[in-house]
């Protein structure tokens, strides 16, 4: 059935035919029948990566296949979302090895985007913890792969945006925890220099991320809050929580009920929001113990928060620059503050080293920003792209809805190798998305 679909940025919106499957036979049947489709999970990538004229949704393929509570090994079908996994593993003393800022993504999506979290500099990206997975190829054949067996398929599937086949089953390693709480430290930085110094100072922390007010100019340019965290031990909890240290958070969510008119977000309102966000931390440093939800998933508490950007949607722009290119970061932040196009969320994080052919993370600074879609935005982002390239950086395909193919080409040195592997397993380009066509990853 045709329907209008979009990913999290609500841009672009396309008409697509959505297919579902609950059993492997049906998946195979769909793959053989359809031509020109992309697998899709919960639609939480921001742009057009999981959009195509036909999408094969994994959401009904969501069963837990095994969970070794001693060894912390978890095996599931690819449509299972992280929130459901947490409900099962946390009470048993385990946590996701890597989690992005939302728990409403599927495991298949986590692999296809090779998501990263606040612990990238210590633990790497999601795929570093995947032991094995099944991929159903365009031919209908299912292949089990590990980093060592069918290693090329494994490698090109991690971060490969679904182009190698439909990920159907994933086995991954979990991380042991003593409690479901996080010992958090928040430190205010008066400007960008200070922030970068603080990242360096606190690099031993497992989790770290900073929020930057990118509209601030002058001496306080780049003022920010650095958020650090460690899984709390039982002794660090309040005595009353110590009886049930692995408790799950209470389910409470509010819904953003409608699209905000697009004028609501303007330089004044964003500035006011940023001011409040920064000033609510009265002291230079805050230390406390909080549940894992507010620490990892603050925005998940508001369902459909993307509606805050209005009907026209928004584009998230995320790039990474090598550590030595701090100047590029300054230049880009200056451009944004001059343009006054800033967003609520400007999130900075330091990535550790990573070896992969198509995954986004590499050692350096990564900055993510939201921009509501409005006239002039796309041209402005093209300008930013040029700076990113000039400083040896690259963009994240999961966030992308608009980059030009040459930007991808220059940012990912192993791109040709990736394309070769995609051609090997998806020779007729049966599997393709609007993004892969736009970026010339698929050709005809």
């Amino acid at each position: 059935m045709k329907k209008q679909i979009a990913n999290w940025g609500n841009y672009p919106v396309i008409e697509a035919n959505e297919e579902y499957f609950s059993f492997p036979d049906r998946l195979r049947e769909l793959i053989l029948k359809e031509n020109g489709f992309i697998p899709r999970g919960n639609g939480r990538c921001y742009g057009d990566a999981s959009l195509a004229k036909t999408t094969i949704s994994t959401l009904k393929f969501d069963k837990i296949l095994s969970f070794d509570r001693q060894a912390g090994i978890f095996e599931c079908q690819s449509g299972l979302t992280l929130d459901r996994i947490l409900d099962v593993i946390v009470p048993s003393g385990w946590f996701l090895p890597v989690t992005p800022g939302t728990k409403f993504i599927t495991v298949g999506g986590a692999v296809a985007s090779d998501v990263h979290g606040k612990n990238h500099h210590i633990d790497g990206s999601f795929s570093n913890h995947v032991l094995e997975m099944d991929i159903v190829l365009a031919s209908g054949e299912t292949i089990s792969c590990t980093p060592g067996i069918h290693g090329d398929l494994f490698e090109a599937t991690c971060g490969g945006m679904g182009l190698t086949g439909v990920i159907s089953r994933v086995t991954f390693r979990l991380k042991p925890i003593e409690t479901s709480f996080i010992r958090q430290k928040q430190v205010k930085a008066g400007n960008l220099e200070e922030l970068i110094r603080l990242f360096e100072e606190y690099r031993e922390y497992t989790y770290s991320v900073a929020w930057i007010d990118c509209l601030k100019k002058g001496p306080h340019f780049g003022r920010s809050i650095l958020m650090l965290g460690e899984h709390a031990g039982v002794k660090e909890l309040d005595p009353k929580r110590q009886n049930d240290p692995l408790q799950l958070p209470k389910k409470k969510q509010v819904n953003f009920p409608f699209n905000l008119p697009s004028w609501v977000l303007n330089p004044f309102s964003v500035r006011a929001f940023n001011f409040l966000f920064y000033s609510k931390n009265f002291k230079k440093e805050i230390n406390n113990v909080i549940g894992y939800e507010p620490f990892f998933y603050p925005l998940d508490a508001i369902l459909h928060w993307n509606r805050g950007y209005g009907k026209k949607g928004f584009v998230q722009y995320q790039f990474v620059l090598p550590l030595e290119s701090k100047r590029g970061l300054v230049e880009i932040l200056h451009r944004i503050s001059d343009k006054g196009l800033g967003s609520f969320l400007a999130v900075l994080k330091v990535f550790g080293k990573q070896e992969s052919i198509i995954s986004f993370p590499k050692e350096g600074y990564t900055l993510a920003l939201d921009f509501p879609v409005k006239p002039g935005l796309l041209e402005f982002l093209d300008e930013l792209d040029r700076i990113v390239l000039q400083y040896g950086g690259r963009l994240y395909m999961s966030k992308d809805a608009r980059m030009k193919p040459e930007i991808l080409q220059h940012g990912y040195p192993d791109l040709e190798k990736f394309k070769d592997i995609v051609r090997k397993y998806n020779p007729d380009e049966k599997i393709r998305s609007i993004q892969s066509d736009r970026l010339l990853l698929t050709t005809n």
Partner: protein, 243 residues
């Protein structure tokens, strides 16, 4: 621990009902034509909810096997829920007796056959609950659901009669009347979002209604009134309408 038997467990609603009752600490017996397909659901339910869950082979159209099927179940279910059903293209079915017959037998005859067996057992034991999933379509015959609606109407009537028959023996029969639900059955139909439920909502409401021992529930509640209005349209007018 109480056990629930789900007849038609590979359907979207069947699978969500299984998870819902498992979350209420029921042991689960999944019955379907291809039980081997249900192995992932068995492990899922066992890992999430810590209850027992297993699958057995059951074919609604093999009436002769139903008695043996039920007597082979060990332990016997405390609740039996009949979920299976089929909706074929009505125009094709109108022109092809095999399709028509299959729709009637799956939606009506098969249900009567297995529920007779189960009801006999529950009556003898003076205990048990039967839940039948019918459809609001059965509340009034119309062109676009010619065979499906008539078979569901018969099934709804059967469930009402069974409720009446079993009452004196403390056996409870609940009728579930879903409206539009997003499932495999309806994936090619354009459904109005506002009045369409998800399988999870259906399972939630069935579970709650079971706990309250309801007789007839509509999913969601407003379907009762939508169907009431549709039933009030005089026939001389109704027959001219395109529905």
């Amino acid at each position: 621990m109480a056990t629930i038997l789900i007849l038609g467990a590979t359907s979207d609603i069947g699978m969500t009902i299984a998870r819902k009752f498992a979350s209420g600490k029921f042991d689960i017996l999944l019955a379907a034509r291809k039980p081997e397909q249900l192995q992932p659901l068995e492990s899922d339910i066992h890992i999430r909810y810590g209850v027992n869950c297993r699958s057995v082979a059951f074919d609604a159209l093999q009436y002769g096997s139903h008695s043996e099927f039920f007597s082979s179940l060990q332990p016997k279910p405390d609740i039996s829920i009949c979920v299976f059903g089929i909706l074929d293209d009505e125009e094709q079915a109108f022109n092809d007796w095999h399709l028509t017959e299959r729709m009637i037998h799956t939606n009506y005859t098969g249900g009567v056959s297995i529920l007779n067996v189960i009801a006999k057992y529950y009556i003898a034991r003076k205990k048990g609950t039967i839940i039948g999933i019918s459809s609001v379509a059965g509340d009034r015959g119309r062109a676009s659901k010619l065979i499906y609606a008539s078979a569901k109407a018969a099934f709804t009537t059967y469930l009402a009669g069974l409720r009446n028959k079993c009452f004196k023996d403390q056996v409870h029969v609940m009728t579930v009347q879903p409206g539009f639900v997003y499932t495999k059955m309806t994936e090619n139909l354009p459904l109005p979002k506002l009045i369409t439920s998800t399988p999870e909502e259906v399972a939630d409401l069935i579970y709650k209604a079971y706990l309250k021992k309801k007789n007839i529930i509509y999913v969601k509640w407003f379907w009762r009134y939508i169907m009431l209005i549709i039933q009030c349209i005089p026939e001389f007018q109704f027959k001219k309408m395109k529905l």
